[in-house]
């Protein structure tokens, strides 16, 4: 379990992480979601003591990471794929890390096998592709068979097969009761992988909830209603406090009322319905609407206009 309390990090006058509180529970995959520069990596670095918090604390299983007797047994961390000396072979890199804890060479060969690095284990890391670097980073994270995994963008640079492999791996690790914190800016990936999502934007927690709740909360419930008497229905629903938008003749999008209540309202007004459909937004849309205004680096011009048009719709 990872617990952050009032965790804050300033770099000079820039506030990277702004007093965040969260708990990452064992037995689940927790997605850490946010735009670039939102504070994901900084928070993860503070969890394993690489960055010193300006204020606040973060503990792993009740203690700051540095106070554990066997840190590699406690937390496996993948911060970036290239936290490796390029002049050393993959196996020697893992051997050097394993030696600090007296982890036997057998285990090194085992994680090489788990991550599929057998063919390149004795090659220098300098020549590795991004995907192979990610696999080596994951091998290092698994070295101590840790109870907690902190993985910053683990699927970055992986091919589709690799992405699927990481997804299965982290789901498996969580099913064994481990704590898994996984960051990504790929919403679709999170939808497939995470049970719970923490959304961070500009250093603050925007949302911290199960995946389904995030989707529901961010979009509210939109209900699509088709009726030959759309105008009359719109007036009736608006008196009940709903926001109604007419998309095309005979088609309404209703916010603020759920489907049963819309149906009841139509029945009591004697209005015929042809369709009554709750619309679930995708996680992607949920995320974009949550982080709107929290994005540090805003694209301007046509792309941004297009992206926003899609969300607004």
């Amino acid at each position: 379990m990872i617990e952050a309390r009032s965790l804050t990090k300033h770099y000079g006058s820039k506030v990277a992480v702004d007093g965040v509180d969260f708990v990452v529970q064992p037995g689940k995959v927790t997605g850490f979601l946010g735009p670039n520069g939102a504070g994901k990596s900084t928070t993860m670095r503070m969890i394993v003591g690489l960055d010193r918090p300006t204020r606040g604390t973060v503990t792993v299983d009740g203690r700051p990471y540095r106070e554990h007797r066997a840190p590699l047994r406690e937390v496996g961390v993948l911060l970036d794929a290239k936290a490796v000396h390029t002049g050393r072979t993959a196996r020697n890199h893992l051997m050097a890390l394993a030696a600090t804890h007296g982890i036997p060479a057998r285990r090194v060969d085992e994680v090489i096998e788990i991550t599929g690095l057998q063919a390149v284990a004795r090659k220098r890391v300098g020549g590795f592709s991004l995907g192979m670097g990610q696999r080596l980073g994951l091998a290092a994270a698994l070295l101590g068979d840790p109870g907690t995994l902190v993985l910053d963008e683990p699927v970055n640079g992986l091919d589709p097969e690799g992405v699927r492999w990481v997804r299965l791996l982290v789901r498996h690790l969580a099913s064994e009761g481990r704590t898994v914190l996984l960051s990504s800016h790929l919403m679709s990936e999170m939808a497939h992988t995470a049970d719970h999502i923490i959304v961070i934007g500009r250093g603050r927690i925007i949302a911290d909830a199960p995946v389904d709740d995030i989707v529901a909360r961010a979009t509210g419930t939109t209900v699509r209603v088709r009726s030959p008497q759309a105008d009359a229905l719109a007036r009736a629903l608006e008196t009940l406090g709903a926001a109604v938008a007419a998309r095309e003749p005979g088609l309404l999008e209703v916010n603020g009322l759920d489907a049963p209540r819309i149906g009841e309202a139509a029945a009591s007004a004697g209005i015929v319905l042809h369709e009554l459909t709750p619309v679930r937004a995708s996680l992607e849309e949920a995320y974009l609407s949550l982080t709107e205004g929290e994005v540090e680096y805003v694209t301007t011009g046509a792309d941004a206009a297009l992206a926003h048009g899609e969300v607004a719709r």
């Binding site: 670095r45 394993v48 003591g49 690489l50 960055d51 010193r52 990471y65 540095r66 007797r69 066997a70 840190p71 590699l72 047994r73 937390v75 961390v77 911060l79 970036d80 290239k82 936290a83 490796v84 000396h85 390029t86 002049g87 050393r88 072979t89 020697n92 890199h93 051997m95 050097a96 890390l97 030696a99 600090t100 804890h101 007296g102 982890i103 036997p104 057998r106 285990r107 085992e110 994680v111 788990i114 290092a140 698994l142 101590g144 068979d145 498996h172 690790l173």
Partner: protein, 278 residues
């Protein structure tokens, strides 16, 4: 992930002995280390041979079977001079290596892996210092004794004969190795402070080569006195056998001065390493 070695993993603990082993693996698994030590050995032996040959011509110009033999303390002085003559060149390779041992971790990002495994960080620096210091001392001893073995016969052919039993000779050979190790540790400290290969190497080489020249150029007594405590000048006291007129520190003073340079650089690095974000 299930494992075939659960017991061994359950016993795994972070221990200083493990960090030492880790640093030894890191040192010997980089080609740059191997090359730097090889260059050090080749330069050390080559210079010793060159100097022995040139001493042979300058000190006893009269040639083979020539007349008056040099006084025995002077013979020992020249013997040590030839055997340790490679030190002032070898120190450059060692200084570069000392900086790279730590700056290479910063430039590649390896330092984050190292500190994630050893989050208290200082054991990493101390283990690096011990492993690199001992390795350099051993390589230094190898160079010193091999240089003596090469230079000795060349000199004795010209009547400059020495023996390891001569007063101060073994001390000078050990002193050369100790000098290389301490210069290496100072550079390791400087590399830790600056975290960059270019900056660390520039500062280390400046301290070793440029400051002594500046010390000579300033026409003031204080500058002359201060220059005696620069590493390369202090080193002369450690690995040479002084004869009359030599202005060098006593060997034990030289050892203390060099240890102080290494200790101050490493201590500053240690303070910064625990305070900075990695």
């Amino acid at each position: 992930m299930s494992t075939t070695a659960p017991q061994a993993l359950r016993r795994a603990r972070l221990r200083f002995g493990g960090v030492l082993r880790s640093e030894w693996i890191k040192l010997r698994t980089l080609r740059s280390t191997v090359w730097a030590y090889l260059v050090t050995v080749v330069i050390g032996l080559g210079i010793a041979l060159l100097l022995a040959v040139s001493l042979q011509q300058s000190v006893s110009p009269s040639g083979r079977g020539g007349p008056p033999r040099l006084p025995s303390d002077l013979q020992t002085h020249y013997g040590a001079l030839a055997a340790t003559s490679g030190v002032s060149f070898a120190q450059l390779a060692i200084a570069v290596l000392g900086v790279l041992v730590i700056s290479g971790e910063y430039s590649t990002g390896m330092i984050r892996s190292s500190f994630a495994a050893v989050p208290r960080r200082l054991p990493v620096l101390w283990a690096k210092a011990i492993v690199f210091g001992v390795a350099t001392f051993v390589v230094g001893l190898l160079i010193m004794f091999a240089s003596y073995a090469i230079a000795g016969p060349v000199l004795s052919a010209e009547g400059i004969s020495t023996s390891l039993a001569d007063d101060g000779l073994v001390r000078a050979l050990f002193g050369g190795a100790g000098y290389l190790a301490l210069v290496g540790l100072m550079s390791l400290g400087i590399g830790t402070i600056l975290r960059s290969a270019a900056g660390g190497i520039a500062v280390s080489i400046s301290i070793l080569l440029v400051l002594p020249i500046i010390g000579q150029l300033i026409p003031a007594d204080w500058a002359h006195d201060a220059a005696r405590y620069l590493p390369s000048n202090a080193g002369q006291g450690l690995y040479s056998i002084a004869i009359q007129g030599d202005d060098v520190l006593e060997p034990w003073q030289a050892l203390l001065v060099l240890a102080a340079w290494a200790a101050v650089a490493l201590a500053a690095g240690a303070v910064l390493i625990t305070r900075r974000d990695a």
